[in-house]
């Protein structure tokens, strides 16, 4: 099947999106099959089947024959599974997984446009083996070699073609070949039959047409009218070389019997055509007008796959960029509304009680409500359930567990929890690493577990849930836990901290050393999680999207990593503060508390101003000075300063600001290429009055005061 169709980049994108979803659905289904091997849920099998079928259709449309053939072969096995003819066994599950792997490679092949040189022979053989045995029944009745074929009426062009050929001394034949219901790709067989005939003659017409065949629209058989100089025997010979077809009719064409008025002869012939001949019957009895192009579509054989209809879907795919643009537009709308509001307040002052200003006031209130709704809806449109991300993990855990020789009971909860699309995109890798870590380092070997009085199978729980204005994703295991003693020893050995300092660390502080660059609790880096990426990178990646991660562990009982994420990257809740007459925003997620502190309470430790709160020493950062902002002349420091205490990973500093303004949702905008990255600043936002406010990057501000070394130093004091 050539790919002589107009495939646009958009088609490919849609295909890739769809394929990704289908592959994930299949993977989830196969995993379920495996876990319920003794009593598989027919629904699950049906789901996998449906996904394979849809993928077959779309890959065939795209002209990816190997992908279509593979999915078709999977379909056959799944069909037998569905009918209870085979049962769920480990080889079966493994084969299905291998198929998925190959399909993923095919998908990438389509995405990149570069052939991946995959050989499907082996996996096809495995599938064939699974499919084989029991009832390898051939299509029942041996075909009659004579009779008539119910062909549609010839068009004038076809008639002319036929007459010309006959004038040249060629003979016209009609043929009907049955496509075996067991055929992996009936369309391919039909296509081969067409080619075989075209090789020795000229096809006048076929049902289905070549185009339909290329589109995978084939029924139970293929009907042909062709001219050739060869003998009937020769035609027989070439057709017999096509596997998985059976010649039912091959006879000289009788032009006197147009199909437009089907005589009893044809009906008998059609009825005699076995096995499932509904396609033929349909063509025969319903023949009056269907033009060749309008032949009944595929899947007429009983028990065959049901074409998934899309009419029931109420969703559309939208480019994220469109949503971003919508979001921007709404932002402007809000700003314009604020301007109108200002006009209104002036009107109200100048023309008190004026009817016009009252109308405007109510219209503006309404406008405000509507823009608010709009903003909320668009934000919601950007949200996706984490399910899309979580679906990847069960298979990964299964593979890692197999490799590590561990038995893992993997539980996923809260898949329906929604997160902004951009957050989901960023959080996949860090989560994958934490999960690998749990399986590889967290869960003990079966022997160790049994010795510790635990069940042999370890449990890993991945859970997502809401917590206030955040989403928490927790990765929990019931493994050996993190031993602070071992961490201390390891950190000292690796030169991350001095022995003296290590001894002073509390147990939770010691556990937090795992985040230090270059730290790994296992002495040897295992094949599974040792990919050169440490937990420090995981932490950095999570912080980059305004999230945070913490570890909670009990020796002998297990470890939990808690990833705290903002609901969205685009909008954050921020504390607005004032610095030398300008508004700045501090992401509320990192704000611990705000306080007014008399300057007399500021102490100086090692040339740095600090305050002491509840026995904790908190270094201060005077933002105006740090940013080099010019104070107006004659500025005198007030007797009390405003301090916003922020924390990143338990490291606290106090930001000194001029005053507190309030809090609100702000949309983060980049500062752009011309300005570039400025330490301490993560972006800007447009306020309700159209002014721009700078958003502070708390993480880098904390780093600037308490570097990695500085932190340990403070701890060690």
């Amino acid at each position: 099947m050539g790919s002589g169709f107009d495939i646009t980049a958009e088609d490919i994108r849609v295909f890739l999106d769809e394929a990704e979803e289908l592959l994930q659905a299949m993977e989830a289904g196969i995993l379920r099959l495996e876990s319920e091997a003794s009593d598989p849920d027919p629904e699950v099998i049906q789901d996998i089947f449906r996904a394979a079928h849809t993928l077959k259709g779309s890959s065939a449309t795209l002209g990816h024959q190997s992908m279509a053939e593979l999915t078709h072969a999977m379909e056959n096995v799944l069909d037998r599974l569905r009918k209870g003819k085979v049962s769920v066994t480990t080889p079966l599950v493994d084969t299905l997984f291998r198929c998925l792997d190959v399909l993923k490679i095919f998908k990438d092949e389509i995405a990149t446009g570069e052939p991946a040189a995959v050989n499907t022979d082996e996996v096809m053989r495995e599938l064939a083996a699974l499919e084989g045995t029991a009832d390898s029944a051939e299509p029942a009745a041996p075909a009659p070699a004579g009779g008539d074929v119910a062909l549609p009426a010839l068009t004038p062009e076809q008639q002319a073609k036929l007459e010309q050929a006959q004038a040249r001394g060629l003979k016209a034949y009609q043929a009907q070949v049955a496509l075996s219901p067991e055929a992996a790709m009936p369309a391919v067989r039909a296509f081969q039959a067409l080619l075989a005939v075209a090789d020795i003659g000229q096809i006048v017409l076929s049902v289905p047409t070549q185009e339909e065949v290329e589109n995978d629209q084939v029924g139970a058989d293929l009907k042909l009218l062709f001219v050739t100089g060869e003998s009937v025997e020769k035609v027989h010979e070439v057709l017999r070389e096509v596997p998985e077809i059976a010649i039912q009719v091959l006879a000289p064409y009788q032009p006197s019997l147009p199909a437009a008025t089907p005589g009893p002869a044809e009906e008998v012939a059609a009825a005699a055509m076995a096995p499932p001949a509904s396609g033929a019957a349909q063509a025969a009895t319903g023949a009056p007008q269907p033009a060749p192009g309008a032949a009944p579509p595929a899947e007429s054989n009983s028990g065959g796959p049901v074409r998934t209809t899309r009419s029931g879907l109420r969703t559309v795919r939208v480019d994220v960029e469109v949503l971003d643009n919508l979001m921007n537009t709404v932002g402007e709308l809000v700003i314009e509304r604020t301007r109108l509001q200002q006009v209104l307040s002036r009107l109200e002052v100048e023309r008190e009680g004026d009817e016009l200003s009252q109308v405007m006031s109510s219209a503006l209130a309404q406008l405000g409500r509507l823009t608010g709704n709009l903003q909320e809806e668009i934000q919601r449109a950007r949200m996706l359930p984490v399910e899309n991300l979580f679906r990847k993990f069960p298979r990964m855990i299964r593979d890692i567990a197999h490799k590590a020789g561990k038995e893992i009971n993997f539980i996923v909860r809260g898949e329906e929890t929604e997160l902004d699309r951009s957050v989901i995109e960023e959080i996949g890798d860090p989560l994958m690493h934490l999960l690998r870590n749990a399986v590889d380092h967290g869960i003990e070997s079966a022997e160790e577990r049994l010795a510790a009085g635990k069940p042999a199978a370890g449990t890993v729980i991945l859970e997502a849930f809401h917590e206030e204005n955040h989403i928490i994703i927790s990765v929990r295991d019931d493994g050996r836990g993190v031993d602070p003693e071992k961490i201390r020893a390891s950190a000292v050995r690796k030169g991350i901290i001095s022995e003296e300092a290590a001894r002073r660390l509390s147990d939770p502080e010691a556990v937090n050393l795992i985040w230090a660059p270059g730290f790994s609790t296992k002495q040897e880096v295992s094949e599974v999680s040792g990919r050169g990426v440490g937990l420090d990178v995981v932490q950095k990646n999570i912080e980059r999207i305004n999230g945070s991660v913490e570890i909670r562990s009990t020796v002998g009982q297990g470890t939990e990593f808690r990833v705290k994420l903002p609901l969205t990257l685009a909008i954050i809740r921020a504390l607005q503060v004032e610095l030398v007459g300008t508004t700045y925003c501090i992401p509320l997620g990192s704000v611990v508390e705000t306080d007014r502190i008399p300057t007399s309470e500021i102490q100086t430790v090692r040339q740095r101003e600090v305050i002491v709160k509840r026995g904790e020493v908190i270094p201060l950062l005077r933002l105006a000075e740090a940013f080099g902002l010019q104070r107006p002349e004659g500025y005198e420091e007030p007797e009390e300063i405003f301090v916003v205490i922020v924390a990143v990973m338990g490291r606290q500093i106090g930001l000194v600001v001029d005053s507190l303004i309030g809090e609100g949702d702000v949309v983060i905008k980049p500062l752009g290429r011309f300005i570039g990255e400025i330490p301490g600043i993560s972006g800007a936002t447009i306020m309700g009055d159209g002014d721009v406010a700078i958003i502070l990057d708390v993480s880098s501000l904390v780093d600037s005061v308490q570097g990695e070394a500085g932190r340990l130093e403070t701890v060690a004091q």
């Binding site: 700003i335 980049p670 500062l671 752009g672 300005i675 600043i681 800007a684 447009i686 721009v692 700078i694």
Partner: protein, 152 residues
């Protein structure tokens, strides 16, 4: 008004500190009235700050400071020319926008060192000199190079 022919290019003529300058209109997205920029701490030297234009946050550059010119306008009377290059935009603070002029091909003289130094500019940012009238010489700036220079 001069007639615009196909070979003509249009330039936006504006003033800074009494001197006339021009920018090719192809690089100008729009011209807006004064909007006070929000200062960005530790931004490149000639970035006056950022403003919001249609939901976008854009940096604003003050050329008069870059070239040692003294603006003769009150802030509120100044204007901001929004330049756009490669999908990135930035604002340029000017005293006033005078006119949009058509330049017949060939009337743009290459910058002579003598003329260029009039406005305290250097040839890094000047595309050419345009003679608009008897005693009217306009320095035509190259927007991309100018922004690059300003942000250095």
């Amino acid at each position: 008004m001069e007639r615009v022919t196909a070979a003509d290019e249009q330039v936006v003529v504006f003033t800074i500190g009494g001197q006339e300058y021009a920018l090719p209109i192809s690089g100008v997205r729009e011209i807006i009235t004064w909007t006070a920029p929000t200062p960005v701490p530790e931004a490149p030297p000639y970035v006056e700050g950022v403003i919001s234009v249609r939901g976008e946050v854009l940096p604003v550059v003050d050329l008069s400071r870059r070239f040692g010119l003294v603006s003769d306008r009150a802030e509120e009377q100044r204007r901001i020319i929004i330049l756009e290059m490669d999908g990135q935009s930035a604002g340029l603070i000017v005293d006033d926008v005078v006119a949009v002029e058509s330049v017949a091909a060939g009337r743009l003289a290459p910058p002579s060192p003598l003329l260029v130094n009039i406005g305290g500019l250097n040839d890094a940012v000047v595309d050419g000199i345009l003679q608009l009238g008897e005693n009217r010489l306009v320095v035509v700036l190259g927007p991309a190079r100018m922004l690059e220079t300003a942000l250095q």
